[in-house]
């Protein structure tokens, strides 16, 4: 045994096996769900990388006032559309505002809108979908019809309505995205529940007389979580881009407030697109990086919650 190991060069697999052995020795007998979940997540390199990028972008946006030396709102007429320099890391835009500061401050709003509405709509969709999918009957019928009404209603008209009544604001955007977005996750959760409902372990739980809420949320939901996680990450990305679109139309966040969408809209101008790459490239890259990192995290979470995959 030892001879064979000595003559053969150690490979990455050996290191992995050693790690697994160590972990099994350390955890023997005391395997706990949270520990297993964490170790599986941490073993997934893409997910960890995604989490690091995600955390960096979030923290930088959160502490924007400490990092950025310029005010994102005040124009500097002596430095209009200047390329990146030591003074302005990402250059300045057409009214002389510091692009770096604007990207940082913009992240605050965009992340809040994107992630906030995605999570909110997921919570609503899951709460309704999991229960009505399991119980079925008239409750399911009503929930289904309501979701159809919300999904068939044109989003832009809802936006116009709310803006007309309440004026432009961040909260309106989140409310609208949540109202129009929960249907998708609701349907997905419901469809998963319909198939899980027939599994025999659910029948067994029923034969013990456990209540429907307990069976649905505690025992069935973990098995439906995978696709829901992926859906949350995808809709985060979609909401960030939608926010950009609505802001451009003047229906989202007021143009004066920096958001990733508002900054990116400068690229609608062909001259900016051709000559001032620093105005749109950094923010475009940031959006892509952020969306990508959220996707990686979602994938990692999905794998970590899948019990049939070893960590």
């Amino acid at each position: 045994m030892t001879d064979a190991n000595a003559t053969r060069p150690r490979t990455r697999r050996d290191a992995q096996f050693d790690k697994i052995r160590d972990r099994e020795a350390a955890l023997a007998g005391t395997r706990q769900r949270t520990g297993r979940f964490m170790s599986k997540f941490l073993n997934n390199r893409l997910a960890v990388m995604g989490f690091v990028i995600f955390a960096v972008i979030c923290l930088m946006s959160l502490f924007a006032p400490l990092i950025a030396q310029h005010d994102p709102m005040s124009p500097n007429l002596r430095a209009i559309a200047k390329p990146p320099s030591a003074e302005h890391w990402f250059g300045t835009d057409k009214t002389g505002r510091d692009v770096f500061a604007r990207v940082l401050y913009g992240g605050r709003i965009s992340i809040l809108v994107g992630l906030g509405s995605a999570l909110l709509s997921a919570i609503i969709g899951v709460i309704i979908g999991v229960y009505s999918g399991y119980v079925g009957g008239w409750l399911d019928w009503i929930a289904m019809r309501i979701s159809e009404i919300f999904m068939s209603f044109p989003q832009i008209i809802l936006v116009l309505l709310l803006v007309a009544i309440l004026g432009q604001s961040l909260l309106n955007l989140i409310v609208i995205f949540t109202l129009t977005g929960w249907g998708g996750i609701y349907r997905m959760a419901r469809a998963r529940m319909l198939s899980i409902r027939e599994e025999e372990y659910v029948q067994a739980l029923r034969s013990f007389g456990l209540g429907p809420a307990r069976i649905a949320y505690k025992h069935m939901l973990p098995n439906a979580l995978g696709p829901i996680m992926v859906n949350i990450t995808l809709s985060t990305a979609a909401f960030i881009l939608q926010e950009a679109g609505l802001s451009f139309l003047g229906l989202g966040v007021p143009l004066s407030i920096p958001t990733w969408g508002n900054i990116l809209n400068a690229a609608q101008d062909l001259r900016v697109l051709e000559q001032n790459w620093w105005i749109w490239l950094p923010v475009g890259a940031t959006i892509s990086l952020f969306v990508l990192s959220v996707n990686f995290i979602g994938d990692g979470l999905r794998d970590a919650t899948d019990p049939s995959q070893q960590g």
Partner: protein, 336 residues
């Protein structure tokens, strides 16, 4: 309470599922999965429920547990506190009786929740029935696993780490966890290979002796029932066609359908020529059952009377007490 008193009485139990067709989901017919079953399950016995696929065995099992509600008829449970009609209770009222009746499922792959460890799956029912502390629950689950010949430590593993036979034993442990009096084994060994089958069957019998259980054993495997059961009920198209002592069924078969079923058991003896009766055609649709005796289109003895008149389950003389069969062509029923 005598050991032979009925623990369950089924009277004219029917389970009909509506068939809905078209855009407006009009009810155009009913699947008569269980169509008028009268049956007593005696305390401490193993009652076999046999029949081919789709004859309503599983539905009847679920109707006993009230997992499927009977559309007509009654299921009565009798225990220390007298008789209770389970079919008339709502979920809250049933709660007390859930503890007495349990089920072991057919498919070991879907009978355990893949997202939870074994302990996670088994602890929730215990908590539901008032085992408060985690230590107590761990002790009970560990004891249960040992009772089904598994290691205590298995409770912290996930279902996918076990083989089919092990999962089936875990399923049995789960059914035992709240100390039921009656367990419905729904094809409990059909999905296992033969050597594992024997192991699980022996375990079931040992547990029965130890804990004084009553089994309703649903299967399509007649060699299993021969080994296991005290009495056997043969089902065909939602009805019981023959009900008798296990030995009696093999020694003195009355109903033509049972005869055909028994002739299909393979015999491991080259010299013995078995007379195989091959039934023609499929089981008729339970949506639209044949008139008269449900078996008449496939019965080789059928006469005109069978096509019009539904045979009653009648009582016949036998060495082992009673022998019931539903066929017009058998002579000499006992007077009621």
């Amino acid at each position: 309470m005598q050991p032979n008193d009925p623990i369950l009485k089924l009277r004219d139990v029917q389970v009909h599922f509506p068939v809905k067709t078209g855009v407006f989901k009009r009810v155009t017919g009913h699947v008569r999965a269980v169509d008028g079953v009268d049956l007593d399950v005696r305390r401490g016995e193993v009652l076999g429920l046999v029949g081919e696929s789709g004859c309503g065995k599983t539905t009847l099992g679920k109707a006993i547990l009230q997992l499927v509600r009977a559309t007509q008829g009654t299921v009565t449970y009798s225990g220390e506190d007298g008789e209770t009609e389970l079919t008339s209770l709502d979920d809250a009222g049933l709660f007390r009786f859930r503890k007495r009746l349990q089920i072991v499922f057919q498919d070991p792959h879907s009978s355990l929740n893949p997202a939870f460890t074994i302990f996670g799956s088994l602890e929730d029912p215990l908590r539901h029935y008032g085992v408060k502390t985690r230590e107590e629950r761990r002790k009970i689950v560990g004891d249960l696993l040992e009772a089904v010949n598994m290691r205590r430590e298995s409770m912290d593993r996930y279902p996918h780490e076990f083989s089919g036979g092990q999962r089936q034993r875990i399923g049995i442990a789960r059914a035992l966890s709240i100390e039921p009096e009656l367990i419905v084994c729904d094809e409990a060994v059909s999905a296992l290979d033969v050597s594992i089958q024997a192991q699980v069957l022996q375990l079931l019998m040992a547990l029965k002796r130890e804990k004084n259980l009553t089994y309703v054993f649903i299967t399509h495997d007649l060699s299993v029932t021969e080994y296991l059961c005290d009495r056997i009920a043969v089902m065909y198209l939602g009805k019981i066609v023959e009900l008798c002592d296990a030995e009696d069924l093999y020694a003195n078969t009355l109903h033509p359908y049972s005869e055909a079923l028994l002739s299909a058991i393979p015999v491991a003896d080259l010299d013995k020529k078995s007379r195989r009766i091959v039934l023609q055609g499929d089981v008729p649709s339970p949506v639209n059952p044949p008139s008269g005796c449900p078996f008449h289109p496939r019965c080789r003895y059928a006469v005109d009377r069978c096509k019009t008149e539904v045979p009653e389950l009648r009582r016949f003389k036998s060495a082992k007490g009673e022998h019931m069969a539903a066929c017009h062509l058998i002579d000499q029923p006992l007077a009621e």
